[in-house]
Protein backbone atom coordinates (compact mmCIF):
# COMPACT_ATOMS: atom_id res chain seq x y z
CA UNK A 1 0.00 0.00 0.00
CA UNK A 2 1.35 3.40 -0.88
CA UNK A 3 0.97 6.35 1.46
CA UNK A 4 1.20 8.78 -1.44
CA UNK A 5 -2.15 10.27 -2.33
CA UNK A 6 -3.37 9.78 -5.92
CA UNK A 7 -3.12 13.52 -6.55
CA UNK A 8 0.51 13.68 -5.44
CA UNK A 9 1.29 10.61 -7.51
CA UNK A 10 -0.05 12.33 -10.60
CA UNK A 11 1.76 15.60 -9.90
CA UNK A 12 5.01 13.77 -9.15
CA UNK A 13 5.82 16.06 -6.25
CA UNK A 14 7.56 14.78 -3.14
CA UNK A 15 8.41 16.47 0.13
CA UNK A 16 10.33 19.14 -1.77
CA UNK A 17 6.93 20.57 -2.81
CA UNK A 18 8.27 21.18 -6.26
CA UNK A 19 9.07 19.47 -9.50
CA UNK A 20 11.83 20.16 -11.96
CA UNK A 21 10.87 23.75 -12.90
CA UNK A 22 13.79 25.34 -11.04
CA UNK A 23 16.30 22.98 -12.61
CA UNK A 24 14.80 23.53 -16.04
CA UNK A 25 14.70 27.36 -16.00
CA UNK A 26 18.25 27.46 -14.65
CA UNK A 27 19.42 25.45 -17.68
CA UNK A 28 17.24 27.46 -20.06
CA UNK A 29 18.72 30.75 -18.83
CA UNK A 30 22.22 29.20 -18.98
CA UNK A 31 21.75 28.24 -22.64
CA UNK A 32 20.49 31.76 -23.46
CA UNK A 33 23.47 33.31 -21.66
CA UNK A 34 26.04 31.54 -23.86
CA UNK A 35 25.38 33.62 -27.03
CA UNK A 36 24.32 36.74 -25.09
CA UNK A 37 27.44 36.64 -22.90
CA UNK A 38 29.76 36.10 -25.87
CA UNK A 39 28.06 39.00 -27.67
CA UNK A 40 28.71 41.33 -24.72
CA UNK A 41 32.35 40.22 -24.34
CA UNK A 42 33.05 40.81 -28.04
CA UNK A 43 31.19 44.15 -27.94
CA UNK A 44 33.20 45.33 -24.93
CA UNK A 45 36.46 44.26 -26.59
CA UNK A 46 35.49 46.19 -29.74
CA UNK A 47 34.55 49.46 -28.01
CA UNK A 48 37.30 51.98 -28.81
CA UNK A 49 37.03 53.59 -25.35
CA UNK A 50 34.66 53.84 -22.37
CA UNK A 51 33.93 57.55 -22.74
CA UNK A 52 30.36 58.77 -22.17
CA UNK A 53 29.59 59.60 -25.82
CA UNK A 54 31.02 56.29 -27.12
CA UNK A 55 29.14 54.07 -24.69
CA UNK A 56 25.83 55.96 -25.01
CA UNK A 57 26.02 55.80 -28.81
CA UNK A 58 26.69 52.07 -28.63
CA UNK A 59 23.76 51.35 -26.28
CA UNK A 60 21.42 53.66 -28.21
CA UNK A 61 21.72 51.40 -31.26
CA UNK A 62 18.34 49.54 -31.26
CA UNK A 63 19.80 46.06 -31.69
CA UNK A 64 22.29 46.67 -28.88
CA UNK A 65 19.49 48.00 -26.63
CA UNK A 66 17.36 44.93 -27.27
CA UNK A 67 20.20 42.47 -26.70
CA UNK A 68 21.34 44.34 -23.59
CA UNK A 69 17.82 44.22 -22.10
CA UNK A 70 17.59 40.49 -22.88
CA UNK A 71 21.02 39.95 -21.35
CA UNK A 72 20.16 41.96 -18.22
CA UNK A 73 16.93 40.04 -17.63
CA UNK A 74 18.47 36.61 -18.31
CA UNK A 75 21.57 37.34 -16.23
CA UNK A 76 19.62 38.64 -13.24
CA UNK A 77 17.23 35.68 -13.43
CA UNK A 78 20.08 33.16 -13.71
CA UNK A 79 21.90 34.88 -10.84
CA UNK A 80 18.74 34.75 -8.73
CA UNK A 81 18.27 31.04 -9.38
CA UNK A 82 21.92 30.21 -8.64
CA UNK A 83 22.22 32.32 -5.51
CA UNK A 84 18.95 30.84 -4.26
CA UNK A 85 20.41 27.32 -4.42
CA UNK A 86 23.60 28.43 -2.65
CA UNK A 87 21.55 30.02 0.16
CA UNK A 88 19.37 26.91 0.45
CA UNK A 89 22.53 24.80 0.81
CA UNK A 90 24.63 26.92 3.14
CA UNK A 91 22.37 29.22 5.14
CA UNK A 92 20.90 27.21 7.99
CA UNK A 93 17.89 27.86 10.18
CA UNK A 94 14.44 28.41 8.76
CA UNK A 95 14.13 32.08 9.76
CA UNK A 96 17.62 33.13 8.61
CA UNK A 97 17.27 31.19 5.38
CA UNK A 98 13.85 32.65 4.54
CA UNK A 99 14.93 36.19 5.40
CA UNK A 100 18.10 35.85 3.26
CA UNK A 101 16.08 34.51 0.34
CA UNK A 102 13.55 37.35 0.57
CA UNK A 103 16.25 40.04 0.67
CA UNK A 104 18.20 38.51 -2.23
CA UNK A 105 15.08 37.96 -4.35
CA UNK A 106 14.04 41.59 -3.92
CA UNK A 107 17.60 42.74 -4.62
CA UNK A 108 17.59 40.81 -7.90
CA UNK A 109 14.21 42.30 -8.84
CA UNK A 110 15.61 45.75 -8.18
CA UNK A 111 18.73 45.06 -10.25
CA UNK A 112 16.66 43.79 -13.18
CA UNK A 113 14.37 46.82 -13.04
CA UNK A 114 17.27 49.28 -12.73
CA UNK A 115 19.16 47.69 -15.63
CA UNK A 116 16.21 47.62 -18.03
CA UNK A 117 15.11 51.16 -17.11
CA UNK A 118 18.64 52.48 -17.69
CA UNK A 119 18.99 50.85 -21.11
CA UNK A 120 15.55 52.15 -22.18
CA UNK A 121 16.34 55.66 -20.97
CA UNK A 122 19.64 55.70 -22.88
CA UNK A 123 17.97 54.13 -25.91
CA UNK A 124 15.13 56.67 -26.03
CA UNK A 125 17.64 59.48 -25.44
CA UNK A 126 16.58 61.06 -22.16
Amino acid sequence: MSLVSPLNKVLGLGSAKGGSEHWWVQRLSAVALVPLGLWLLIAIARLPDFGYATVVAWIANPLNSILLILLTLTMVYHSHLGIQVVVEDYVHGKATKTATLIVLTLAHLFLGCAGVYSVLRIGFGS
Partner: protein, 126 residues
Protein backbone atom coordinates in the same frame (compact mmCIF):
# COMPACT_ATOMS: atom_id res chain seq x y z
CA UNK B 1 27.49 16.69 20.66
CA UNK B 2 24.69 19.19 21.00
CA UNK B 3 22.08 18.82 18.31
CA UNK B 4 22.62 22.36 17.07
CA UNK B 5 26.40 21.89 16.68
CA UNK B 6 26.26 18.86 14.44
CA UNK B 7 27.88 19.37 11.03
CA UNK B 8 25.27 19.91 8.35
CA UNK B 9 25.67 18.81 4.75
CA UNK B 10 26.96 19.73 2.22
CA UNK B 11 30.42 19.07 3.64
CA UNK B 12 32.74 21.08 1.43
CA UNK B 13 36.06 20.83 3.18
CA UNK B 14 36.24 17.17 4.27
CA UNK B 15 37.14 15.83 0.83
CA UNK B 16 40.53 15.47 -0.82
CA UNK B 17 40.92 18.17 -3.46
CA UNK B 18 40.52 16.68 -6.94
CA UNK B 19 39.72 18.21 -10.31
CA UNK B 20 36.05 17.18 -9.93
CA UNK B 21 35.12 18.73 -6.58
CA UNK B 22 37.52 21.66 -7.01
CA UNK B 23 35.83 22.76 -10.25
CA UNK B 24 32.39 22.13 -8.78
CA UNK B 25 33.09 24.48 -5.89
CA UNK B 26 34.86 26.94 -8.18
CA UNK B 27 31.72 26.99 -10.36
CA UNK B 28 29.65 28.16 -7.42
CA UNK B 29 32.28 30.65 -6.25
CA UNK B 30 32.65 32.19 -9.71
CA UNK B 31 28.84 32.32 -9.89
CA UNK B 32 28.71 34.37 -6.70
CA UNK B 33 31.54 36.60 -7.96
CA UNK B 34 29.60 37.17 -11.19
CA UNK B 35 26.44 38.06 -9.26
CA UNK B 36 28.43 40.79 -7.53
CA UNK B 37 29.67 41.77 -10.99
CA UNK B 38 26.06 42.21 -12.14
CA UNK B 39 25.52 44.56 -9.21
CA UNK B 40 28.57 46.64 -10.15
CA UNK B 41 27.63 46.62 -13.84
CA UNK B 42 24.05 47.77 -13.14
CA UNK B 43 25.39 50.64 -10.96
CA UNK B 44 27.53 51.64 -13.93
CA UNK B 45 24.51 51.43 -16.28
CA UNK B 46 22.33 53.54 -13.96
CA UNK B 47 25.09 56.15 -13.76
CA UNK B 48 25.31 56.16 -17.54
CA UNK B 49 21.54 56.70 -17.81
CA UNK B 50 21.78 59.58 -15.33
CA UNK B 51 24.00 61.73 -17.53
CA UNK B 52 27.61 62.57 -18.24
CA UNK B 53 28.61 64.14 -14.88
CA UNK B 54 27.47 61.16 -12.81
CA UNK B 55 28.93 58.72 -15.30
CA UNK B 56 32.36 60.35 -15.14
CA UNK B 57 32.29 60.16 -11.32
CA UNK B 58 31.48 56.44 -11.41
CA UNK B 59 34.02 55.91 -14.17
CA UNK B 60 36.83 57.48 -12.16
CA UNK B 61 35.78 55.45 -9.08
CA UNK B 62 35.85 52.28 -11.20
CA UNK B 63 39.28 53.26 -12.56
CA UNK B 64 40.85 53.17 -9.08
CA UNK B 65 43.94 51.01 -8.72
CA UNK B 66 42.40 48.70 -6.13
CA UNK B 67 39.55 47.99 -8.58
CA UNK B 68 41.81 46.52 -11.27
CA UNK B 69 42.33 43.07 -9.63
CA UNK B 70 38.53 42.81 -9.38
CA UNK B 71 38.24 43.14 -13.17
CA UNK B 72 40.73 40.31 -13.51
CA UNK B 73 38.62 38.22 -11.13
CA UNK B 74 35.44 38.97 -13.09
CA UNK B 75 37.08 38.21 -16.42
CA UNK B 76 38.36 34.87 -15.12
CA UNK B 77 34.99 34.11 -13.50
CA UNK B 78 33.00 34.79 -16.66
CA UNK B 79 35.21 32.58 -18.86
CA UNK B 80 35.44 29.79 -16.28
CA UNK B 81 31.70 29.84 -15.50
CA UNK B 82 30.92 29.92 -19.23
CA UNK B 83 33.15 26.93 -20.10
CA UNK B 84 32.31 24.89 -17.01
CA UNK B 85 28.62 25.73 -17.51
CA UNK B 86 28.77 24.25 -21.00
CA UNK B 87 30.46 21.18 -19.42
CA UNK B 88 27.52 20.94 -17.03
CA UNK B 89 25.04 21.24 -19.92
CA UNK B 90 26.82 18.34 -21.66
CA UNK B 91 26.33 16.23 -18.53
CA UNK B 92 22.67 17.30 -18.40
CA UNK B 93 22.32 16.04 -21.96
CA UNK B 94 23.85 12.73 -20.86
CA UNK B 95 27.35 13.03 -22.35
CA UNK B 96 30.86 12.90 -20.87
CA UNK B 97 30.36 10.79 -17.76
CA UNK B 98 33.32 8.45 -18.32
CA UNK B 99 36.11 8.80 -15.79
CA UNK B 100 38.71 10.06 -18.26
CA UNK B 101 36.20 12.39 -19.97
CA UNK B 102 35.41 14.08 -16.67
CA UNK B 103 39.10 14.67 -15.96
CA UNK B 104 40.04 15.78 -19.48
CA UNK B 105 36.94 18.01 -19.69
CA UNK B 106 37.83 19.61 -16.38
CA UNK B 107 41.39 20.41 -17.39
CA UNK B 108 40.18 21.69 -20.77
CA UNK B 109 37.90 24.13 -18.94
CA UNK B 110 40.81 25.29 -16.76
CA UNK B 111 43.05 25.75 -19.80
CA UNK B 112 40.33 27.63 -21.72
CA UNK B 113 39.63 29.93 -18.77
CA UNK B 114 43.34 30.65 -18.25
CA UNK B 115 44.06 31.45 -21.91
CA UNK B 116 40.93 33.55 -22.51
CA UNK B 117 41.49 35.47 -19.25
CA UNK B 118 45.02 36.43 -20.30
CA UNK B 119 44.03 37.32 -23.88
CA UNK B 120 40.88 39.27 -22.96
CA UNK B 121 42.61 41.13 -20.11
CA UNK B 122 45.53 42.06 -22.36
CA UNK B 123 43.05 43.33 -24.93
CA UNK B 124 40.67 45.31 -22.70
CA UNK B 125 42.52 46.27 -19.53
CA UNK B 126 45.90 47.34 -20.90
Amino acid sequence: MDRADRPISPHVFVYRWQITNTLSILHRMTGIVLSLGVLVAVCWLVALAGGEAGYERVRSAYSAVWFQPLYLGWIFSIFFHLANGIRHLCWDAGYGFEHHQIRIGGWLVVAFAAVTTVVFSAFVLF
